[in-house]
Symmetry: C2
Subunit: 421 residues, 2 copies
């Protein structure tokens, strides 16, 4: 099989199917989602069986335990998938919304209509739940999808693909509205990201390495998430009763997530008061603190203390390690963040109105918070109802990306025979 | 001078200046715009002189008359530039707008704030007015700009750059908020479009050839405008009294613009009634009609008639030539448009409610109109107040791009000490 031909065929089919997906009314798209959920519920046993074959092969190939964990499809994981689909049904339909219709001096009335992007390509690791999640979000938003999951999940993904196709068909939508790439050949990814004629946007879900590699080759635009080097800045005017739980939560609630704090900045004036109390909290979780010389002096005696190197300011630890730096105040904090941050999420803890407003406006990141933990940067916590990813980009979608990120606004004009003179 | 070093320096300076530009309040940015307008007014004579040097060199190099025309800076063109800046001052400030702030069950309040993109790179032909236009839009939207105009305009662009810098300085904004690339070396463009660390978006303004070339090399995202293969579809239920002026205006109002109709589709049922009348109008402008066999039969005897080839359906004539095709009805019209259109602007002429709604929803173009001339697809006609370009893309900005297209929405969170549990 020639991989380029194979992927071109998939692309062409997706483009054709995308027209019917975009035309379908809300009820039809929701019906498809419910039918898919029902089919998964009915065939749960077969899915577990297909997953077992994937797991056996993965174990034989020596896949790392963490990856085996993500690959595994428990009964509970299947129930979560089904729930997820039914929750997507309950979300409002983003498609067709008309906004800002205004009359112009010429007599025409102009505004915008929200429409699907067309064809979404999703590239992800060997996590079968993403197959259903991504299919659900694309169907809901009237898009066609091409799903390329990690090859270790191939049996399970094939089984899921059949159930998604069954649901689409039963709702009178084209089966090819969602296509799962049924090959483990890596060249398929290379083809997928270079077919702008068939694919409108690529959403990669995976590690930084995968995404950096895709960025080099892709000619299709991407909604991409690189790393999360998030900061909390404890301002001189911070309420320490808020600063302590926020700095603790932002670091230790979960270590492996992209909205976890990696660097703590503390205003010089408040550092002697706040740092020792905070250290007592971090000690309970054995968090290693990598401190600049000033913080080092304040923290001396802390059992897991090390001096910070220049590299620490731009490291995403994803571990119980925290870089700590003393800054003169809001100016130095903003300067440090805009220099070292990955532009994901930053928070200030302060009771000072002007500092809060300056931080919100001047910090150039996708999410900027006052007196809240960075851990809130998440599509569900923001009320998007669903999340296809988090974008580090400034164009199109920035921060948590929900259904709206899979849509576009086109201009519509209601005329009455107007011509331009 | 090493071109990469030179451009990296410009990029670094722009990134630094962009922070001050973003921080500046509305009054400061408007003051800079007014001061630049005043400086141009004061030095109009010197600008004409610098332009004369460019024109002499261009004539000596045998530049085509149409390009000489665009390069020329008349007193009237200078007055228009000055007016343009003052009009931009009068537009509402897009920056800082906060929208959709909503409380979430966790207690945080989440919404979005409109912020500048950062650094905008603009690549354009030898048209000095674009230098001032683009600088004005970037200053108004709180961005830093790097402007790279066609080398034939270098003397005039240098003179304009000095006046822009003077205005920025006098308003206490960094001079490097707007930098004009002062070299005619084409390698500067290659460097500009491959510095994503310093440039957030490239707006190319020029022919399809320039943009296609940039697309191949660019690693910075682009807001780009390719071609305009626009359609008017005269539906079976069209009001002929509207169809005739719209089809006439869309083709003949101006031939060289991207929103000019290039293909006319006519429903079979109305073709015998509408085409002969339309031909009588087109005859007054000697428009050549390239018709499919059915239209050919109806139009026989028209003095400028030729059979259409497959290529005609995807040609942007920019000339008094029109492709004409008979279609069965709305389905075939939509299918033809979605296949051949450049996704710029399409219009339906109809009195039928369902056909109008289907056309608006199902035609996958940046602007879709009912009963109006495609010539209205324009930032000024749409009420954007200004236009940096027209985008054929679906992501970020689609259709006419005004100040909002030079901004981004970041999430902001107002908390009260909330942590995630």
């Amino acid at each position: 099989m020639d991989m380029t031909d194979y992927m071109q065929t998939i692309g062409r089919q997706a483009r054709t199917a995308s027209r019917a997906m975009a035309r379908a009314d809300s009820a039809t798209r929701n019906r498809a989602l419910l039918l898919i959920a029902d089919a998964i519920e009915r065939d749960a046993a077969q899915l577990v069986e297909a997953n077992a074959r994937d797991l056996d092969a993965a174990r034989a190939n020596g896949l790392a335990p963490a990856l085996l964990d993500r690959l595994a499809l428990s009964d509970k994981a299947i129930a979560t998938m089904i729930d997820g689909l039914r929750q997507i049904v309950a979300l409002p339909d983003p498609i067709g919304e008309i906004s800002n219709m205004k009359f112009r001096p010429s007599g025409i009335q102009v505004g915008q209509m929200r429409v699907p992007l067309g064809v979404i390509g999703i590239i992800y690791e060997a996590r079968p739940n993403v197959t259903v999640d991504a299919a659900g979000l694309c169907i809901k938003s009237g898009n066609a999808a091409i799903l390329r999951g990690g090859s270790e999940a191939i049996h399970c993904n094939r089984a899921l693909a059949a159930l998604v196709a069954e649901g689409l068909r039963a709702a009178s939508l084209p089966e090819q509205g969602v296509q799962v790439v049924e090959t483990t050949d890596r060249a398929a990814v290379g083809a997928l990201i270079t077919m702008p004629e068939y694919v409108d946007v690529i959403v990669p879900r995976g590690g930084k390495g995968l995404i950096a590699r895709l960025m080099e080759e892709a000619t299709v635009p991407m909604i991409k998430h690189l790393d999360g080097i998030c900061h909390v800045y404890i301002d001189a005017k911070a309420d320490i009763a808020k600063a302590l739980p926020i700095a603790m939560n932002a670091k230790t609630h979960r270590y492996g997530t992209c909205n976890t704090m990696e660097t703590l900045l503390v205003a010089r004036a408040i550092a002697p008061a706040v740092l020792p109390q905070l250290a007592a909290l971090y000690a309970t979780k054995e968090v290693e603190l990598r401190a600049d010389p000033e913080a080092l002096a304040i923290l001396q005696g802390y059992p897991h203390l090390a001096p910070a190197s220049e590299e620490d300011w731009s490291t995403e630890y994803l571990a119980p390690i925290l870089a700590v730096k003393i800054v003169a105040g809001i100016d130095e904090a903003i300067e440090h963040i805009n220099r070292y941050s990955s532009k994901h999420t930053e928070a200030i803890v302060t009771e000072d109105y002007t500092d809060a407003m300056r931080f919100l406006r001047e910090v150039d990141s996708a999410s900027v918070m006052v007196n809240a933990s960075t851990r809130f940067a998440d599509g569900f916590e923001y009320g998007l109802g669903a999340e296809i990813g988090i974008s580090n980009d400034k164009l199109h979608a920035r921060g948590p990306v929900g259904l709206e990120g899979l849509t576009s606004l086109k201009y519509i004009v209601f005329g009455h025979g107007e011509i331009r003179t």
